[in-house]
Amino acid sequence: MTTLVSIEHLERTFGNVRALDDVSLEIRENEFFALLGPSGCGKTTLLRILAGFEQPDSGRVTLGDADLLGVPPNKRPINLMFQSYALFPHLSVERNVAYGLEREGRPRDEVRQRVADVLRTVGISETASRRPAQLSGGQRQRVALARAIVKRPRLLLLDEPLSALDRKVRGEMQLELKRLQHEVGITFVVVTHDQEEAMSMADRIAVLQHGRVEQLDAPVELYEHPRSLFVARFIGTNNLFAGVVTAGGVQVEPIGWMPAGPTHLATGAAAYLGIRPEHIEVVDEGAMLGGEVIDTQFYGGLSSLAVAVTGRAEPVIVTQQGVTRVSRGTAVGLAWDPPRAVVLPA
């Protein structure tokens, strides 16, 4: 895989807020890349730097082998799909999509052909002559997408692409975006605060917090092997126990010793043990942890148990396939496969 965009030591400060703090990462050719983080983590600043609407205080950004920072936004082979979609309200769908091609001075026939093609690709040919105000949220999003890909940019940036859609349409569009990305063969960089969205679409995810890259990995890696407490909390549900590293596990007061997978942390170091709800089993023998079921919830395919453990404020969450056999008020033993539990630096 060749590198398309390389970002080196980017710094950007607004007043006394460090929006980007020594950010370095590489985006590969043809991948679906996600910048994930809570609001104010710097992801939007990074996106705007890539688009050319913001300049870093220091650092380097290259596209292919060419320096990108000195190039004005209208000269970059990069297009951005805005969070608000930013469709031109006084132009029809067709004219909105044609706008970028017209600025390149393409012949009229070519413009018409490419606009028709891209509208077909995103599935909204029938809206071509309408104004943005006459479209539904999903249709507007497709127009914005069509407008952003019609110029065949080398890099497509998407700012919170699904946030303005309702839940049902959002699911459809997630699949649609993935399909399109394969079909048009453009590198996508999506900015989102929604971890499910990033997990379901992206090939690789950079998790940002306070302007720093916390972890850059494939979704499964991020989920199974978070390298920081923030990532473990931010991605999915996790049961976290504060304690001290011991041989083969973590000593958690006042609960006791809990087995975990290997760690590079030194024995005696302060750490957290993280274990996912679906990796915890209710067992009759060999329990590593004991508690009382205080609540059960049934979600159709899954059940969730909340187990109160003495010496711990929040209940331990356990999920089970199908309907649970355990009822509220029962004392249960909990166990897990030790390598499934991860040790995180405190």
């Binding site: 936004p73 805005f82 930013a86 031109f88 970028g100 390149e104």
Partner: protein, 275 residues
């Protein structure tokens, strides 16, 4: 009274909806107020069509005052002076006001400076008039159509700026970025995206400036030269010797023009805020 009401009191919902449907006595002040507002206008319009031309007795419908108006050389000169000033000052105000509004929107973070720019549109005419005359005298500017035009540009620009500035607050700022992102230069973006987005406000502001200039008296009276009276000044001098029926006809015409223009302006701003 209370007992009687209690006896027949229908369920609460019916009572409320009935109260809204039947306005009752509250219609009276409404009619009186509207009547008070429109009585003078009504009188002028009716007199314009009165054959005798006297406000005290109606002698039949006639449009003769309109033809006699067209034949009045003094009024026609005043009308053409006024139209030249109104069109000229509006054209300049639209350009300057739009640029001012965009500049304020982009570069000014202070509400005070924002308000300062709108000042000339709300300052008392008399203050503006005295101030402008003072400036013209100081710099040695001759008085005539050009000086009135310049004066009208001052409040016209502020007016257009106020209307356009308000509109800019409702325009998605990422539209301009989207245009840049799609390969447009700053100039192309300005003419193809920025201006169309605020066009309804520009037109509305321009129409308002036009109507205000059309019947502006105080500032014109102070800053005009004797050779080039505007229409309001001519009407004023005519009225000093008694109201002639021609003035009524003229007022009716002006009323129509102003009404249509303001309605147009309102429609345009209204349509704009819908989007």
């Amino acid at each position: 009274m209370t007992d009687a009401l209690a006896d027949v009191a229908p369920p609460r919902i019916a009572a409320t909806s009935r109260r809204f449907r039947r306005p009752g006595w509250t219609i009276i002040p409404l009619v009186l107020t509207l009547g008070f507002l429109y009585l003078p206008i009504g009188v002028v319009v009716i007199m314009a069509f009165n054959e005798s031309g006297s406000p005290f007795h109606w002698s039949g419908f006639s449009t003769q005052w309109f033809s006699s108006l067209a034949g009045n050389q003094g009024i026609m000169t005043g009308l053409s002076n006024t139209i030249v000033i109104a069109l000229g000052s509006t054209a300049v105000s639209v350009v300057l006001g739009t640029l001012l509004a965009i500049g304020l929107y982009r570069h000014v973070r202070s509400g005070w400076i924002d308000a300062l720019a709108m000042g000339p549109a709300v300052a008392p005419d008399l203050v503006m008039a005295i101030g402008l005359l003072g400036v013209y005298t100081t710099v040695g500017l001759t008085l005539g159509l050009h000086s009135v035009l310049l004066s009208h540009v001052v409040f016209g620009t502020a007016l257009v700026a106020a209307v356009v500035r308000a509109r800019l607050g409702h325009v998605d700022p990422s539209l301009e970025e989207a245009s840049r992102d799609l390969g447009a230069s700053q100039l192309t973006t300005f003419f193809r995206i920025t201006i169309p987005g605020i066009l309804p406000a520009i037109i509305a502001g321009g129409l308002l400036a036009f109507t205000l200039s059309l019947d502006e008296f105080v500032i014109a009276f102070f800053t005009d030269g004797p050779a080039t009276p505007t229409l309001p000044i001519i009407i004023y001098s005519m009225v000093r010797f008694g109201i002639t029926p021609e003035v009524n006809a003229l007022a009716a015409v002006l009323l129509l023009v102003s009404f249509v223009t303001v309605l147009l302006a309102q429609r345009l701003t209204g349509v704009g805020s819908d989007e």
